[in-house]
Structure formats: structure tokens, C-alpha cells
């Protein structure tokens, strides 16, 4: 294990940004999001979750993947070059790292999405949560607020310094290149990591039991909760767009005269046109079916397809829903137990 003094972080970022594009949480007009580092960046490591998850970097809201030219009867298609993958994500919270591994299941399964695969070559430096928020519930899904197993490098906040542990070969290589900036922590500091991890886990105010939720959720399709929960839903896309695991997308064309391009962009199962067919039929005709789809997908369908929950408990939807539709209520309905620590 190593450590870096917080005072030296700007030096570190400057160095890293020279090696590869460096994305970290930054504040602009009061909104904290991942953005590329540049001189004078207003980095905000201490805030827990960014508004948009780092999903917006590995799976951007829209990206063009082909250009076309149409002249009379002739059509020409040109692929867009795959995106650059050698960038660094710094300060990703453990729930968001887990969110990326959920996306992996979708985009890296056959047929592999090569654009995603390329972006996924990035290096992820995760920052442990010392004090999770009241609306966080990552522990419900067996995740740990103080540790992100899928990260390349793990950081813990030790007040004046960040403790630094590489978890993968990629992380190790990067760590080696930073000998000038990293220091060796004292044994006490090294030991403090365990303490930070444990405190974070207990600070997460609510203790969750999810035994049987997957199974119970399977039978929830006709549960009464759907008849009431959806009524206040505004049908906006906040919950899905801010979700680190939501991956639904649409494909659209943009054209100008003979030239044009085809792009893929985020879409939301909360929108009424999401499943609307050209014939006018819609298998999810009201907001009830759409709200049910979102929760069932996370708690039942996704586990059935991929063996893990489609929720990582980051709490963004809980915090940002304008009418407080709360997935933890659904989990409780599905038999998840909850008790205050």
C-alpha cells in the first residue's frame, strides 16, 4: 500500500492528464459531474455521487457510429473510428464501479459492442466512501462502500492523505510510474484502511437483507404495488438517465442533404414511445407498465439474464426523483428487510 498527500493531488492530476485524458468529479454552476481535467479545474472529490454516473463516459449519451452518403440510388456507409480507450477515471465511488461491471454484462456479451469495449480499456481509480449518505444502500446488493473490487486502483480518504492500493496489473503499472508522488504509509495508516472500511459499512444507516428478493421479485409482476406506485410518476427520464446501470438506447439518423450519420443514444423505458410500435400497438400502454418494467428489470429480469442485480444502490434515483418514487420501497415490497443501525 502507498499514500499520496492531498496537497500533492493537483501535481498528480497534472502528471496523469499528460499521460492520458483524465476524468474526475468537477463542479460547474453548482453541478458536480465527471469532466476532463484541465488547469484550474474545480475538482470535488469529497462529494459522494456525481449527478451523472461515470456511465456517461464509458457509454456516452450519444455517439455516432457510421456516416452515410446517398446519391441517387447509391448508398455508401463509412464506419466511425472506434473511440479512444486510454483514459483515466479518477475518484469513482465503489457503487459506480459496480455500475460499470453491470454495463459490462450487456455490452461485452456477444456480439461485443466494440465501442464500449474500447472505452472500457480505461483505468479506474476508485475512491472509497467514508460516510455514505442516508439514501445510499449499496450494501443491500452485497457491495461495500469502502471497497471496489473491480477498480484498478483503490483510494481511501485518510483526511490529509489518500491511501493508495493497486488492485490490477494495469493499476500496478500506473502506480509504478508515480514513485515521485507516492509515499509509503506508516503501519498505523495502513491499518486504518480496515477501520475506514468497517466504519463506512456500519455508517450506511440502514441494514439490508435481500434474501429471496430475486425470487420474490419474479412473482411480483401482478403485485398490487404497481397499481399505486406509478400514479404519481411524471414519466420523465431522470431515474433512468442518472442510473449507473440503465443502458437502454435508441438509434437515430441525422442527415443534411446527401450526407448523414447514424448515432446511438440513451433512451428511457419511462417514455411512452419507448415500446410504441409503428402499428400503434404498445405492449406497455400506461405508466404502470413502464414503472413496473424499470423495477422488475433491476430486481428480477436482469438477475435472471445475467446473475446479478441491475441496481447498485447508489441512491441517485431516490434523491432526484421529483415525486420521490423510491426503489427501496419496492425492495421492501419484494421481501427485502430493512432495519436502522
Amino acid at each position: 500500500m502507498q499514500e499520496i498527500q492531498k496537497a500533492r493531488l493537483p501535481q498528480l492530476w497534472e502528471y496523469l492528464a499528460k499521460k492520458a485524458p483524465l476524468y474526475l468529479p468537477q463542479q460547474e454552476d453548482g453541478v458536480i459531474n465527471f469532466a476532463p481535467w484541465q488547469e484550474g479545474a474545480r475538482v470535488k472529490l469529497e462529494s459522494l455521487n456525481t449527478v451523472l454516473p461515470p456511465k456517461s463516459i464509458v457509454f456516452p449519451q450519444w455517439e455516432t457510429y457510421l456516416h452515410f452518403t446517398q446519391k441517387a440510388r447509391e448508398l455508401k456507409l463509412t464506419p466511425t473510428k472506434e473511440p479512444e480507450g486510454s483514459y483515466i477515471l479518477f475518484g469513482v465511488r465503489p457503487c459506480d464501479v459496480a455500475g460499470i461491471t453491470v454495463l459490462d454484462r450487456v455490452f461485452l456479451q456477444d456480439p461485443v459492442d466494440v465501442f464500449y469495449e474500447s472505452r472500457r480499456r480505461c483505468t479506474i481509480i476508485s475512491l472509497a466512501c467514508n460516510e455514505p449518505d442516508i439514501s445510499c444502500f449499496c450494501s443491500a446488493f452485497g457491495l461495500e462502500p469502502g471497497f471496489a473490487p473491480a477498480a484498478d486502483i483503490m483510494l481511501w480518504d485518510g483526511d490529509k492523505f489518500l491511501l493508495w492500493q493497486s488492485l490490477t496489473e494495469k493499476g500496478e503499472t500506473l502506480t509504478h510510474s508515480l514513485t515521485d508522488l507516492l509515499e509509503v504509509p506508516t503501519p498505523a495508516e495502513t491499518e486504518s484502511v480496515q477501520c475506514l472500511r468497517e466504519t463506512a459499512a456500519t455508517v450506511q444507516e440502514q441494514k439490508w437483507g435481500l434474501d429471496g428478493v430475486k425470487e420474490r421479485a419474479k412473482d411480483m409482476f401482478n403485485a398490487p404495488i404497481w397499481d399505486s406506485l406509478y400514479r404519481r410518476c411524471l414519466g420523465c427520464g431522470i431515474c433512468t438517465y442518472l442510473c449507473p446501470t440503465c443502458h437502454c438506447f435508441d438509434i437515430g439518423d441525422f442527415s443534411r442533404g446527401e450526407r448523414g450519420e447514424r448515432f446511438r443514444c440513451w433512451d428511457s423505458c419511462m417514455y411512452k414511445d419507448f415500446t410504441l410500435m409503428a402499428s400503434g400497438e404498445n405492449p406497455r400502454p400506461t405508466q404502470k407498465e413502464r414503472v413496473r418494467q424499470r423495477f422488475m428489470h433491476k430486481l428480477s429480469y436482469f438477475p435472471a439474464q445475467h446473475g446479478l442485480y441491475g441496481c447498485v444502490g447508489c441512491g441517485r434515483c431516490v434523491r432526484k426523483c421529483p415525486v420521490n418514487i423510491d426503489i427501496t420501497q419496492v425492495i421492501k415490497e419484494a421481501g427485502g428487510s430493512i432495519s436502522c443501525a
Binding site: 446517398q70 456507409l77 409503428a278 400497438e281 422488475m296
Partner: protein, 275 residues
């Protein structure tokens, strides 16, 4: 450069023939000639007219039957409107094949009952012609097909000439509403199937049509004694990617584009009723 899974190939619409007032059949070949890709009956392809968009269609020709793919397309939305407007020789984009297709191995040695309605004949036709090519592998073949009116029946040459001429193959036609010059059966497909009273013995039923027809056909077949495992149907959903990623065509934990579009009724019964 790496190939994006959603990247299509350019193909040529070699021939367009009008089936009915709102259905045309398009023959689509690769730019260099030949089929753009190999496929099995019941599989689909994503066709697109750049600047307008993509839409998924079932392939209606049979594998190895021709050096092009055929699509019977009904004019219903932006993409289909545009396709109906193009001329022979135009280039479009295509990607596929998508979906599971019909379980052809399971069908060997069985009597086959095809039940189609309207444009729903399109995927069935692929399998029918496939079976007729390998005629010896299958038992009796019954084809029940209906449309709103006589003018809405597609693939007439095959319905009236090719298929009835094949050994042990019978075609039963019906129209929703009778009219002058139609001396065939009048009535909805599901009722006609029950009237005809097919035996479930060693049979497999395969159906495709509008959702409401499928619903009643399934019920009717059960009344005739067909087990859910003996009935296969194809489902339709709004689709974008075709590869189980874009997240909109799921019924419960199954994606219609990837795990379907062909489902047997036993599987379907286990899924939420959201189709």
C-alpha cells in the same frame, strides 16, 4: 478498424412486387450479388433507409432458395412508408440475421399446421418453402391463411399454385368479410382452425399474425388438444438493436430479438403477459 455490431452492409433492392394495396415484397441482394448473409426460417433482418431509420422485418424467403433475401413489408410507419416509395435498383442498408428462428430440427417427422393472418404469413412462408424443399422430412402440411379481404391475401401464386401442388400439402384460405367473386371460406382465422379441427397427433402448429389473432388461435388450438409445447408462435415488439442490448423488446427476462421471435406456447405461458 473494429466492426461495430450495429454497422450494416449496403444491399440492393433488386425487385419489388406488389402483393396487396399495402404490402410489397422486396428482393434484397448483397452489393456483390447473392444473399447478404445466411439465415434460418423465422429469423429477421434490420433494414434501413438512411436518414429515415431502421426497422426489423422477418425474412420471408427460404434459405438457399434464391440468391437474395425477400421481405414482405406492410406500409405502417416512417421506414415502411419510405421503403414503399423506393424503386428497383435502390441501395439500402441491412444487418442480421437476428433471432432464433423456427426450431426446424424439432419439426422433422411431424405433421405441420401453419396458421397465418395478414402480413403474418411472411415468416411462415420462409419455413413453408423450406419444408417443401425438404419435403421428405415432414408429414402432412396444412396451411391456414386469412386476411381482411380477398384483395389482402399475399403470395397468391404460392397459395393457389405452388403449395397445393406439393404432395400432402393443403391450403385453407379465409377472409374476414366476404365479397363478390370470393367463393371461399368467410370468417376469422381462429374459428376456421377450430372448424377444420386438426388433430394434435404428432403435429406441430406454427402461427403468426396480429396479436389478437394469435391470442384466439392459441386458445383454439388448446381446445383441439394441442399441448403448449406443440405450438410455436412469433412475437412482434418494437426493436432497435436486434442483439438484446437496447432493452425495449423484453417480455420479462426474455428478449424477443434474441431469445425470440419464435416462442413455443409453453415458454410463453411462463412469461409475464406483456406482449
Amino acid at each position: 478498424m473494429l466492426k461495430h455490431p450495429l454497422f450494416p452492409q449496403v444491399a440492393v433492392v433488386e425487385r419489388i412486387s406488389r402483393e396487396t394495396a399495402d404490402i410489397k415484397t422486396f428482393s434484397v441482394a448483397a452489393l456483390k450479388g447473392g444473399v447478404p448473409f445466411n439465415f434460418m426460417p423465422g429469423q429477421c433482418a434490420m433494414l434501413s433507409v438512411p436518414a429515415v431509420g431502421e426497422a426489423l422485418f422477418s425474412i420471408t424467403s427460404a434459405p438457399a432458395q434464391a440468391d437474395f433475401l425477400e421481405f414482405s413489408i406492410k406500409k405502417t410507419g416512417a421506414v415502411t412508408d419510405c421503403l414503399h416509395g423506393i424503386e428497383e435498383g435502390c441501395q439500402i442498408a441491412i444487418r442480421g440475421p437476428y433471432g432464433n428462428g423456427f426450431p426446424v430440427a424439432q419439426l422433422k417427422g411431424r405433421d405441420l399446421l401453419f396458421i397465418g393472418g395478414g402480413i403474418g404469413l411472411a415468416p411462415l412462408r420462409s419455413l413453408i418453402n423450406y419444408c417443401l424443399v425438404h419435403r421428405g422430412d415432414y408429414g402432412n402440411i396444412h396451411i391456414v391463411y386469412g386476411a381482411r379481404s380477398a384483395a389482402d391475401l399475399m403470395q397468391r401464386k404460392e397459395l393457389y399454385e405452388n403449395w397445393p401442388a406439393s404432395p400432402a400439402t393443403s391450403v385453407y384460405l379465409t377472409v374476414d368479410t366476404g365479397q363478390e367473386g370470393w367463393d371461399g371460406h368467410v370468417g376469422f382465422v381462429p374459428q376456421y382452425v377450430e372448424e377444420l379441427g386438426f388433430s394434435p397427433q404428432n403435429s406441430i402448429a406454427l402461427t403468426c399474425g396480429p396479436p389478437i389473432m394469435i391470442k384466439y388461435v392459441l386458445a383454439g388450438l388448446e381446445r383441439l388438444g394441442f399441448q403448449p409445447e406443440q405450438i410455436h408462435t412469433t412475437l412482434e415488439m418494437r426493436m432497435k438493436c436486434g442483439v438484446g442490448k437496447c432493452g425495449r423488446c423484453n417480455i420479462g427476462g426474455k428478449y424477443v430479438c434474441r431469445n425470440g421471435p419464435v416462442f413455443n406456447f409453453a415458454e410463453l405461458k411462463k412469461l409475464p403477459a406483456e406482449y
